[in-house]
């Protein structure tokens, strides 16, 4: 059984017991435990089921590489699936549930899948479920959905908060082991601004566990001293529990800091995502031990040798009473020795090598540990727990030589440097034959903006498994030199490690294992990919490692192949009879380990999910209970419903009231850009399709802007303020874009023209006073002459109304008598209220954007974004009158001369009146005779705006139609989504006040 020893455990505090639960079972651990160590201390070896066959799964590793021990953590608003037990720090009342089993962990119906294993070979997604078609929907998919999948998605909103912070440093050191600590020390002593991050809660990495000596002192003491020195320097930032998730362009690194995972609900953000910009990155990310591929290596109780050592030394937990160590290298002997020294029984060390004569094997033998060389494990016995191993010759086919009873197996296939951060931005790897590993190729690093290396690997991550500190010293000096920081001359600390003999690459155990054994030798524990699956993929023609990965799902589980990658591609390379480096690796992509979505969202949720732009009158609208709609980032009132009134009824009332009495519109969102200078007129003549330089001071002119293709981009009224100043109105939400467009041409094309622009959109609140009583209300407000003589249609003037300094434009977007009045934004709410007060007796009512849209459609005025979609020219919309024929050039002129744009066959703007008075559906097309090659009806036109007109009491629409203006009176038919049609007569797009008399009184 798996249990806690009565003494030892460098990380636990036995004086601080902690209660937690697993699958509802109450268990206890100590402060300093991980969930994994606490589960093992409580003999909870079985922690989950595998993805495909639902085989029992136990804890294999002790860190981020753990493939099996993923749990549902917490409940309700603090529920999180797929949390790694090995990296989850234990806290009081932690609740964990195993996942990927149904109905229970102990009895799982999906285990039947293993009997159907024949049906689930590599590539089973593509093979098994194809036929019959109906079976997928009704049989396979429901069963797979029920039995497969990982944790359950939380149902409640996340109760925690998250934040992001921007940070900058000269040197970011990732990994708080001895290599990282030393690199940080050298850089910090040289005065560089240094960050050192470590994904776990402890500094020091493996060295303290293995009892290394550094400069003659125990590694743990050296680590304490290094951390203390670094912590004392103001220009150094130390962050434990902080994982470097990804390295991106130009030194950008995402660091995920786990602030309150272990202290839930303490008021701190749960995670903090640091958005780091580093001048240089040292990846001192260590190495991960590889499993060995022997039959039934997935039975709970089979673990990485280093993990077993971690559990023993850090948490005083032993997963078994009698352990077999299986290895191809000397390092695994440390586990045997450590267990022996802790009073545990080692059944044997099974060493695949013919000889094991290094210092560590010698020490093991001296302890009385039995060492069997040239041997391997043929098969692990046991179901939910290891009961023993069958031993065979490594060079054979698995013929059993003897049986060893045991309840734990410690395996070691050598070590793989953690090269993820080096690889994220394109750093290349080279194959190291001696270590049988890929390590960073310093000749081909990822490049940053200055053309130099962005990431430099150091220590075990650089393949320097046994000379980590010395390598870190060399690498950090390279980094500092490239950063232009002078490092002090000093000797690197001495690491005293026993000599180790070479490892022997072992990818399949035993070497000539039978198919029966290979079909039980797991490469990817979570995704159930076995040696035989990869070999099958190779036989079926998958030669690229990237293809094999997708076909077999090797390395596609949540551990992203941290354990399986190298073994899998070595098996592939053997099957293809090609050397490993020829086969290559799959691409490492961020994140290194999962990051919560909340951390990626940061502050952008709830009220600040995105900016909400509000006008100066917004409070008033809200107080009136307005229904809002987004226009760009602005929120604008859509309508103002009275009690017991639907929005539709409110819109109809607002339209009628405006046409019959007086409507007030908050038009503040309208873009307002000042253009001034000796060349301003010339500039505007280039920008607009019509002539603006000739506009007299005091007058307004409607103008169109096109892009260089000749398509309409924006429209609005331009006012001439003085001899060299114009004010250009843009569409709501178009101000920033058009201002940018102006600046682009001024800065990049006509930089010698003397023109300045200023976007003054937000300086003014603008109120449209609209309807037959518009003049009366302004006269009531008083202060200036707003008569037809003093202020005719399309004129503007400065003045004051009711004491508010203002600029009044006599323009109309509704066809009614209308004034648009701009006042300083701070005065906007007060002026708006004054208009309502003065207008009360004249029938004043506010109206929203929908009434605005209907009134402009009744008048046949186009709306950018409705009648235009980036493929429509002014000529398409019958706006030829606003396109100058005289000007030699304007933006879009050459584009409009293109044959396709000048073609008479382009669809043109017309109005549509349904015969039955109904409203044509949005976006409906006008059907034409015949069908195209795809069997779809030919079309000859489409609707661009369609409304119910309260004024006319019927459906009206504008749209584009082939030969439209020549087809007045003709009836066309619109196709509806339900297959039926609606008949409409082609009419003028001006439905109301065809001669424009009302606005000009």
């Amino acid at each position: 059984m798996s249990t806690r020893l009565t003494t030892g455990g460098r990380l636990i505090d036995r004086a601080a017991p902690i209660d937690f639960s697993f699958n509802g079972k109450r268990l206890s651990g100590f402060a300093g435990d991980t969930l994994a160590s606490a589960l093992l201390a409580n003999d909870q070896m079985l922690v989950g089921r595998s993805f495909k066959y639902h085989r029992p799964r136990g804890i294999v590793a002790s860190g981020a590489e753990e493939p099996n021990a993923l749990v549902n953590l917490g409940h309700g608003a603090r529920a999180e699936p797929n949390q790694r037990a090995t990296t989850t720090e234990l806290f009081d009342r932690l609740q964990a549930r195993s996942q990927n089993h149904w109905p229970s962990l102990e009895f799982d119906v999906g285990v039947l899948n293993k009997h159907a294993a024949r049906l689930l070979p590599g590539g089973f997604y593509y093979k098994t479920f194809i036929h019959p078609r109906a079976a997928w929907k009704h049989l396979f998919e429901p069963i797979i959905r029920q039995t497969a999948g990982l944790g359950a998605a939380p149902k409640d909103g996340d109760a925690d908060r998250y934040e992001q912070v921007y940070a900058f440093c000269d040197l970011l050191v990732v990994g708080g082991g001895v290599a990282g600590l030393h690199a940080a020390l050298v850089a910090a002593r040289a005065g560089a601004r240094v960050w050192l991050v470590e994904q776990s809660a402890q500094w020091g990495g493996r060295a303290p566990v293995d009892g290394d000596l550094i400069d003659g002192v125990p590694a743990a003491d050296w680590v304490d001293a290094a951390v203390a020195e670094l912590a004392g320097m103001a220009h150094v930032t130390l962050r434990a529990r902080t994982m470097a998730a990804g390295v991106y362009d130009h030194g950008y690194v995402l660091l995920d800091e786990r602030l309150a995972d272990h202290t839930p609900g303490d008021g701190r953000p749960r995670h903090r995502l640091w958005r780091m910009r580093a001048g240089k990155i040292i990846a001192a990310t260590g190495a991960i031990e590889r499993p060995l591929s022997f039959a039934c290596n997935d039975v709970p109780g089979v673990m990485l040798a280093s993990a077993l050592r971690d559990y023993l030394v850090n948490w005083a937990v032993v997963p078994g009473q009698r352990t077999v160590v299986v290895t191809n290298n000397d390092d695994a002997y440390r586990t045997a020795i450590a267990l022996h020294q802790a009073g545990q029984t080692i059944a044997a060390v099974i060493d695949a090598r013919d000889q094991a004569e290094g210092a560590l094997p010698a020490q093991a033998r001296a302890c009385g540990i039995r060492v069997e060389t040239g041997k391997s494990i043929a098969r692990v016995k046991g179901g939910k727990r290891v009961t023993g191993v069958e031993v065979c010759r490594q060079t054979g086919d698995g013929t059993i030589s003897n049986f060893l009873a045991c309840d734990a197996v410690a395996m070691s296939g050598g070590w793989s440097p953690v090269v993820h951060l080096y690889s994220h931005c394109g750093g290349k790897l080279i194959w190291d034959d001696a270590g049988a590993m890929f390590r960073p190729d310093a000749a081909h690093p990822p490049i940053t903006h200055d053309g130099r290396a962005m990431v430099i690997a150091a220590g075990a991550a650089n393949g320097a498994l046994r000379t980590a500190v010395a390598d870190a010293d060399a690498q950090v000096r390279i980094a500092l030199k490239e950063l232009g920081v002078k490092a002090r001359k000093a000797k690197a600390p001495r690491q005293d490690l026993p000599d180790e003999a070479a490892l022997q690459p072992v990818w399949i155990m035993p070497q000539a294992a039978t198919l029966g054994l290979r079909a039980k030798a797991w490469l990817d524990f979570q995704n159930d990919v076995k040696v035989s699956d990869v070999q099958l993929a190779a036989r079926e023609g998958y030669q690229s490692v990237e293809h094999t990965k997708r076909y077999t799902t090797l390395g596609m589980a949540t551990d992203q192949g941290k354990l399986s990658n190298i073994n899998g591609l070595a098996v592939l390379s053997e099957a293809l009879n090609e050397p490993v480096p020829q086969v290559g690796t799959t691409t490492f992509r961020p994140p290194y380990a999962p990051v919560p979505l909340g951390a990626l969202a940061g502050e952008a949720r709830g009220a600040v999910f995105q900016p909400l732009r509000k006008t100066p009158m917004d409070d008033w609208h809200a107080a009136q209970g307005a229904t809002f709609e987004p226009v760009g980032l602005w929120r604008r009132p859509y309508c103002y419903s009275h009690p017991n009134e639907t929005p539709q009824q409110a819109v109809a009332r607002e339209v009628k009231n405006t046409r019959q009495a007086l409507g007030l519109l908050d038009a503040s969102t309208l873009g307002k850009i000042i253009v001034k200078g000796p060349d301003a007129g010339r500039f505007l003549d280039m920008l607009y399709t019509n002539v603006m330089s000739s506009l007299p001071v005091g007058r307004c002119r409607y103008g169109l802007m096109c892009n260089e293709q000749g398509f309409l981009s924006d429209d609005g009224v331009v006012a001439r303020i003085d001899a060299d100043t114009w004010l250009c109105h843009t569409t709501s939400g178009g101000a920033d874009r058009i201002h940018g467009w102006m600046e682009d041409w001024l800065q990049c094309e006509w930089w010698d023209w003397q023109v300045f622009t200023a976007n003054v959109t937000e300086q003014y609140a603008q109120v449209a006073v609209v309807g037959p009583n518009a003049r009366k209300v302004l006269e009531k407000l008083g202060g200036m002459d707003v008569s037809q003589d003093a202020l005719p249609f399309m004129a503007w003037t400065d003045g004051s109304l009711a004491g508010f300094g203002c600029r009044v434009y006599r323009i109309s977007f509704s066809g009614e008598l209308s004034y648009e009045i701009a006042v300083p934004a701070d005065q906007g709410a007060a002026f708006w209220q004054a208009c309502h007060d003065a207008g009360a007796a004249l029938g004043a009512m506010p109206y929203g954007t929908e009434a605005l849209h209907i009134m402009r459609a009744e008048k046949g005025f186009i709306m950018i974004g409705d009648e235009t979609d980036g493929t429509v020219t002014p000529q398409d919309l019958g706006l030829d009158w606003a396109v100058s024929k005289k000007k030699a050039d304007f933006l879009g002129k050459r584009g409009q001369e293109r044959r396709f744009l000048a073609s008479p066959e382009r669809w043109k703007l017309v109005g549509f009146e349904t015969l039955d008075g109904s409203v044509i559906p949005d976006g409906a097309y006008v059907a034409a005779a015949g069908t195209n090659a795809n069997g779809q009806r030919h079309v000859q036109g489409r609707v661009t705006s369609t409304y119910h007109s309260p004024t006319l009491g019927r459906g009206i629409a504008m749209g584009l139609l082939l030969d439209g203006p020549d087809r007045m009176g003709e009836v066309v038919s619109f196709a509806k989504v339900d297959g039926s049609t609606v008949q409409a007569r082609v009419v003028s797009p001006v439905f109301y006040d065809k001669h424009g008399e009302k606005q000009n009184v």
Partner: protein, 182 residues
């Protein structure tokens, strides 16, 4: 005329840094190319400040002059002095190509104060605050909107567009919440 109404109410907050909206202030955007005859005098006459160097803001009592771009300056002054300042600029730059415009109402201004005020902004702006120079006017992005700020002894003054004053106030208070000190 009614009293000026700031875009959002100037409620403070109880975070690890104090956040409050200030104003109303007067603001003038002045556009003129460096070296324009009379530019120095215009800024001096309008604010009493020297023409600011690249990315700097010059303070003289209640008046400031900030460098916004190679041909743009932001003048900050008491609201009551705006008309006077515009007149002074018009006079000093008479006959020279320039643009001066009142933007007092188009902006919202916040103060973030306290020993950890910088931490609030570190969460919002991609700016290296350790390298922020004294008297530096930094234009940047705060979360999803444009902003400009400078540092003084007591904290930071941040300027943003008026329409997003509510968003900015919410952001600043959110980032100053107790328990989220860096």
């Amino acid at each position: 005329m009614s009293d000026a109404v700031s875009p959002i109410s100037a409620a403070g907050s109880e975070g690890f840094a104090r956040v409050r909206q200030i104003g109303p202030l007067g603001m003038v955007t002045l556009r003129a190319k460096a070296g324009t005859k009379g530019l120095k005098a215009a800024v001096k006459d309008a604010t009493g400040c020297a023409l600011p160097d690249k990315r700097r803001i010059v303070t003289k009592g209640a008046f400031r002059a900030g460098w916004m771009s190679p041909d743009e300056y932001l003048l900050i002054l008491p609201r009551a002095d705006v008309a006077k300042a515009l007149a002074a600029i018009a006079k000093a730059l008479n006959g020279q190509h320039h643009l001066a415009v009142d933007v007092s109402d188009a902006r919202a201004v916040f103060r973030i104060e306290g020993a950890k005020a910088d931490q609030v902004l570190r969460k919002l702006c991609p700016v290296d605050f350790d390298r922020l120079a004294a008297g530096e006017l930094r234009r940047t992005r705060a979360a999803q909107v444009a902003a400009a700020f400078w540092r003084d002894d007591a904290g930071f003054t941040l300027v943003c567009f008026r329409s997003v004053a509510g968003y900015m106030g919410d952001l600043l208070r959110l980032c100053a919440q107790p328990g989220s000190e860096l």
